[in-house]
């Protein structure tokens, strides 16, 4: 490991060829501008006095695609191409901070110097008080972008009214279009209070109508000073998220930050659906001196943004991440902020950036190294970089993002029905999990008991229940709660391994997966078994993690059955070992799985069991209506009907949710068709009652789910097929047997046809028809090469045939034989 920054920087120089246009098969991987920004970041001289990061920034303004700055950018681009090495000359003014600001650097109590661990003299902090502001890792800040801008000194916290140009304490309203502020009293007509929903000022309104608008001029001598927000949105300032801080040996404070971008700076430019206050998070990092940080701003997720109404001017909205290499967008998931799913997101977390660096330099340089390898490997080792192999995945996936955020996603106003559909999705995790409190308490008690117990001997829980009764969901919810308790420090930390039996390619692979999650190394399963045996039986440590208790959740446990059941035995045997600290939770459908196993296994597993019974209709109803709370989409009886029906059939919550979603879909389809057909004739008349999902929709959905479609097929099949089916029912009834040979059937068809004056079909035709019916499994038949010896039998009860064909208009005489 290379310790000093002096070393690590040359090390990262291979990055340069990567970004240069010559290298990889990236689409337009590096425009000179971007690479310049990057390179200049990297090749910054050792004396931190020179304001390189800022130069880099002024170069990076070239990226602007807006016409406003096009001229300027072209000029600077030219220069930059000519003299990339002279980059520092660009900023004529060294950024001497305004003398007025008093300098105060103090380390707060929470900062934890790690000087002992980092030999090169960098000191990392989690929290820094700088220039009077307190900054923390993960905060969003404004960063200065351009030097010498005349109005940079004044930084008005409160913006002035666009009409009277006074700032004052009065209530102001913000236009949703131009973001200008207006005093309520200055407006014509005056507003008493802030209106609900969107509000657009009259200037923008007029502009939209196509009129020329003359904005009120500021009074003589008073310039309209711009707030930081305005400067940011006109790309005179930058916003960034702080990833880490450190102090160089010479006492200068630096930070690593992740840039935000305004829509104008992306390749596609501002799109009509972009909000005024929208920013994109990029995957572009650089090191910046703390000097250039201005103050805090707040970049929020859509949910927080909606709630943050009165939080001041520096609030921004960020829903997407922008990839600067590939120029594409991706939604930001909650997973990023949610540590609990860290292991799932682990593999692309690695690519992005360790979100919480905790000021650990080891991790930092490891990352650097990793990245270097990735890029150099790109040329020679194609297999490793193939996206579907383990190594390449990190590299390939950031390419997936969409080039342009589709408009329908953003500007679409959801109706209640569509919202209902979204909440009924199986994938949406509900806020609360009703009806499984008892079981969840039991699981929590079991795990807590096992963890807190010093020995935790032989802890094994078997959970069973029919599909869709919330087994896995409950366990995962309990684990989430426990995780927060660990964070709060009330219980000991543990590690959690989650395995699904059906997702393993073979039962033995489970060793490999367990070992990989425990130690993050990949080995073959035999070796993994060996290591795991060592760890659990003998108590040797695996990897660097301390001897934490380990909770192993195995979903679909019955899939681990091998012929000699050794996999299950091994896994269930470990908890009985004194040093193992292993807790196994097995989930499966069958109640008597332990009894079906060898006695030595069932004695280890069958002791503690938990049964998830099927939901009854009240529970189902509660589950559905808890999801639909606050939405006016379903009639009350409709929900009850659906839940009663499902409870009677299976008690499967998934099924109930799907039926309701399907019903909502059907209602939505009906409404949309109606509005389409009505649009032509007269304006849509949407009365309130028609928007609700009613009994008929639920009924239709239930029909679709539970009823086999054979009756409709029988009703619609060709005439000869009908005759054949009837002949079959007739003959089977007469003989009392279950099956019939083709010869008999054909003679019966012939006699039926001749006695009713129909054309006699040829035998080969009949054979073809029989095979067609057999294909759709209305009848079961042997292969057609047996010809007259072929045996046929009905796949559905003969009553169904009678029901389907009784009053058939095409061949009325059929009913005689039923």
């Amino acid at each position: 490991m290379h310790g000093t920054p002096q070393k690590s920087r040359p090390k990262s120089s291979p990055r340069r060829p990567k970004t240069s246009p010559g290298a990889p098969p990236t689409p337009e991987s590096a425009t000179p501008r971007r690479s310049l920004r990057r390179i200049s970041c990297i090749s910054e001289p050792k004396s931190p006095q020179t304001p390189i990061p800022r130069v880099a920034k002024s170069l990076a303004t070239d990226r602007l695609e807006t016409p406003r700055s096009a001229r300027k950018s072209r000029k600077s681009l030219l220069c930059s191409e000519k003299t990339p090495s002279k980059a520092p000359t660009f900023s004529p003014v060294t950024p001497n901070p305004p003398e007025s600001k008093k300098r105060k650097r103090s380390e707060t109590g929470e900062s934890k110097p790690r000087a002992s661990r980092t030999p090169k003299g960098r000191v990392y902090y989690k929290k820094v008080v700088y220039d009077g502001g307190e900054f923390e890792v993960g905060d969003d800040v404004y960063v200065k972008r351009r030097e010498g801008a005349e109005s940079d000194d004044e930084d008005p916290e409160v913006e002035a009214c666009r009409i009277c140009f006074q700032s004052g304490r009065l209530v102001m309203i913000e236009c949703d279009d131009c973001l200008g502020g207006f005093h309520l009293k200055c407006l014509k007509p005056r507003l008493k209070k802030i209106p609900e929903g969107e509000w657009i000022c009259r200037f923008c309104e007029a502009r939209k109508m196509g009129k020329e608008v003359e904005l009120p001029k500021p009074p003589e001598g008073k310039k309209l000073s711009r707030t930081a927000k305005e400067k940011l949105l006109s790309s005179d300032l930058w916003a960034a998220r702080i990833e880490s801080f450190w102090k160089e040996p010479d006492g200068i404070y630096w930070m690593k930050c992740r840039w935000y971008m305004i829509p104008e700076e992306t390749v596609v430019g501002r799109q009509p659906h972009n909000l005024r206050r929208e920013l994109y998070r990029t995957n572009d990092f650089s090191d910046v001196e703390m000097e250039s940080v201005l103050r805090h701003c707040y970049v929020m997720s859509p949910k927080d943004f909606r709630e943050a109404d009165n939080e001041g001017d520096d609030v921004f909205y960020c829903e997407y991440e922008y990839d600067v290499h590939w120029h594409n967008f991706k939604r930001i998931t909650d997973i990023d902020n949610d540590d609990e799913d860290g292991e799932e997101a682990g593999n692309d977390e690695e690519w992005k950036f360790p979100e919480d660096l905790h000021g650990d330099i080891d991790e930092n340089s490891e990352y650097e190294e990793h990245k270097t390898i990735d890029y150099s490997a790109q040329k020679n080792r194609t297999h490793e970089l193939a996206a579907n192999s383990h190594k390449g995945r990190i590299f390939g996936l950031q390419r997936i993002g969409i080039k342009k955020i589709p408009e329908h996603v953003r500007s679409h106003k959801q109706t209640d029905l569509e919202k209902a559909k979204a909440t009924l999705l199986l994938a949406t995790l509900p806020k609360s999990l009703p009806c499984r409190n008892k079981e969840m308490e039991e699981i929590a008690a079991f795990i807590k008991g096992a963890i807190c117990d010093d020995q935790c001997l032989g802890r094994c829980l078997y959970i069973h229940g029919v599909p869709g009764t919330g087994k896995t969901m409950s366990v995962l919810a309990v684990m989430r709660n426990l995780r927060s308790e660990v964070d709060a420090g009330t219980i000991r930390p543990y590690c959690f391994v989650d395995i699904n039996g059906l997702k393993l390619s073979s039962p033995e692979n489970i060793y490999r997966v367990i070992y990989e999650t425990l130690s993050s190394r990949r080995v073959g399963w035999k070796k993994a078994l060996h290591y795991l045996n060592e760890r659990f039986s003998d108590g040797t440590k695996v990897g660097k993690e301390e001897n934490k208790p380990c909770v192993l959740l195995i979903d679909e446990l019955d899939l681990l059955l091998t012929r000699n059941q050794s996999v299950l035995y091994n896994i269930l045997d470990w908890p009985t070992k004194p040093h193992s600290k292993l807790i196994v939770i097995g989930i499966s459908n069958t109640m008597d799985l332990p009894e079906k196993l060898l006695p030595r296994i069932s004695s280890r597993m069958g002791i503690q069991r938990l049964c998830f019974g099927p939901y009854n209709y009240q529970q189902l109803q509660e589950i559905i209506s808890s999801r639909l709370r606050g939405l006016e989409a379903f009639e009350e009886q409709a929900i009850e009907f659906a839940s009663r029906k499902v409870a009677a059939m299976s008690g499967d919550a998934r099924r109930a949710l799907e039926i309701c979603r399907r019903a909502a879909e059907l209602a939505d389809y009906r409404l949309k068709q109606m509005s389409q057909s009505k649009q032509s004739s007269f304006p849509v008349d949407t009365s309130k009652g028609k928007h609700l999902v009613g009994m008929t929709d639920v009924e239709a959905a239930i029909q679709e789910v539970f009823q086999a479609p054979h009756i409709r097929i029988m009703k619609n099949c060709s005439k000869l097929s009908k005759v054949m089916l009837v002949a079959m029912v007739h003959e089977l009834y007469r003989s009392g047997l279950g099956e019939i040979t083709f010869e008999r059937l054909a003679t019966t068809v012939h006699s039926l046809c001749s006695s009713n004056g129909e054309v006699l079909p040829g035998w080969d035709t009949l054979l073809k028809i029989g095979c067609k019916l057999g294909e759709s499994r209305i009848i079961l038949c042997e292969e057609g090469t047996k010809h007259r010896l072929q045996k046929l039998q009905l796949n559905f009860p003969s009553d169904d045939v009678a029901f389907a064909l009784k009053d058939c208009s095409e061949v009325p005489w059929l009913s005689k034989y039923l």
């Binding site: 997702k503 479609p709 035998w763 080969d764 067609k772 047996k786 007259r788």
Partner: protein
């Protein structure tokens, strides 16, 4: 006369002309247009696009709403073969791809090829890689592949891209442990993904084949494909065969063609032909097959369709292969068949070549026919019958080296045999008498 290259036979003249593109007559052009329509898998189904009850609009709504609302869905398309399941899917995808460019990636799997889970996962990974211009490695393990597929599902979901997985012959994916279906459907309910799984099957009980935990994860949307009704067939015929007014054809020809066509379509005899075709199999593909034949029979002189074309086309589709075989059978073969039939009516359930020969000799002795052949000649005829599958071994297993001793069975019924004997021109009278004698007494 122009010199032609020697390698073209005279009959290929029109072909060579067509290649040069100079002398394609109006009739040829019309025929080509009609054939193109009939061969295109989607043209026939595009006729039903507009109606809200059609499967097209239902499926389109389903997929487009899951694109617009960023949700997962799974749907089964059920219906007999030839009812246009895949064609409708293709139509919908074509439309949606035009509507949302760059946001849809389609994965196509076929149960006949990819019923093995590992192979299917690999194929999905490969197609995803091709779609997104990523490097694909053949050597990746199945764990890697499945991990990759899950990652892609999530990433595409984050990027508002929809992955549509079409599983043709869905019933074949339900063999084995159904790991592929489980991991797909489970991913769809746990990840933030945006995927639609479309299962296509001709088995009506396809969803019953799923294991219960997979069935619970499957969202049971089903679209049923039934053969078109009589009115729909009429509409379809008009839409398929009418020449367009605004085309390169001379307008006189177009009006004449269309007038003749409407005459045919409303003709009673044509309706009879159509009915007898649809009585057997009412699917769209069957109809298209008939029409293609009819168009190929079109009279190139006048360039107009006639009722005769449809009739002869119908006769081509309406074939009885076994009767045809019997018509061409040799006398000795007929003797063997009649002997077998006699043995069966004597309720002798198991017999082989030697017992047939005994019967043959007995007939010969009794009636003193002129058709007496040596044993090895009879064996040749016997083998020929076996090849034609008019007769067959009772059990295909345990085949002994000599076929003389292998028990055999007659595969045609006595009624068919009777029909064959009467239609065979060279059938000796004695044989018919023999047959009549025993079956109708």
């Amino acid at each position: 006369m122009r010199r032609k290259p020697l390698c073209f036979p005279p009959s290929a003249r029109s072909l060579s002309q067509r290649i040069r593109g100079d002398a394609m007559t109006v009739a040829e052009k019309a025929q080509a247009l009609l054939r193109r329509r009939l061969c295109s898998p989607t043209f026939a189904h595009a006729a039903f696009k507009s109606s809200p009850e059609s499967n097209y609009s239902k499926l389109r709504f389903l997929i487009s709403s899951s694109i617009a609302e960023a949700c997962n869905n799974s749907v089964l398309l059920l219906g007999p073969r030839g009812s246009g399941k895949i064609a409708v899917v293709e139509l919908v995808l074509e439309d949606l791809k035009a509507e949302h460019p760059d946001a849809i990636s389609v994965i196509r799997l076929n149960g006949l090829l990819h019923s093995d889970d590992n192979c299917a996962l690999k194929e999905i990974a490969r197609q995803l890689c091709v779609e997104h211009q990523l490097l694909f490695s053949k050597m990746a393990s199945s764990d890697d592949n499945s991990q990759f597929v899950m990652d892609m599902l999530r990433e595409c979901g984050l990027a508002h891209k929809t992955i549509i997985v079409i599983l043709d012959e869905f019933d074949l994916f339900t063999q084995g442990k159904q790991r592929l279906l489980y991991s797909l459907l489970d991913a769809m309910q746990t990840l933030i993904s945006q995927a639609v799984v479309i299962g296509v099957s001709c088995r009506l009980d396809a969803d019953q084949l799923l294991e219960k935990r997979i069935r619970s994860r499957f969202s049971h949307r089903k679209l049923l494909f039934v053969p078109p009704s009589k009115e729909d067939v009429q509409r379809l015929l008009e839409c398929l065969l009418h020449l367009p007014k605004d085309s390169s054809f001379p307008s006189k020809y177009v009006t004449e063609f269309n007038r003749r066509l409407s005459n045919i379509l409303s003709d009673k005899k044509f309706k009879e032909v159509l009915d007898s075709l649809l009585d057997v199999d009412g699917s769209v593909s069957n109809l298209l097959r008939l029409l293609f034949r009819a168009v190929s029979y079109m009279d190139m002189e006048s360039g107009l369709l006639s009722l005769e074309n449809f009739k002869s086309a119908y006769l081509c589709t309406y074939r009885q292969p076994k009767i045809d075989n019997l018509e061409d059978a040799s006398i000795l073969e007929l003797y063997i068949l009649v002997c077998m039939n006699r043995l069966e009516t004597k309720e002798q359930n198991s017999y082989n070549f030697n017992s047939i020969m005994k019967e043959y000799k007995a007939i010969h002795d009794a009636y003193k026919t002129s058709d007496n052949y040596a044993n090895n000649v009879c064996l040749r005829a016997f083998e020929h019958l076996l090849e034609q599958e008019l007769i067959g071994f009772t059990d295909s297993k345990g085949r002994t080296p000599s076929i003389e001793f292998h028990p055999v069975k007659l595969l045609i019924s006595s009624r068919e045999l009777y029909q064959g004997l009467t239609s065979n021109s060279s059938c000796p009278a004695i044989l018919q008498k023999l047959f009549d004698h025993e079956s109708y007494k």
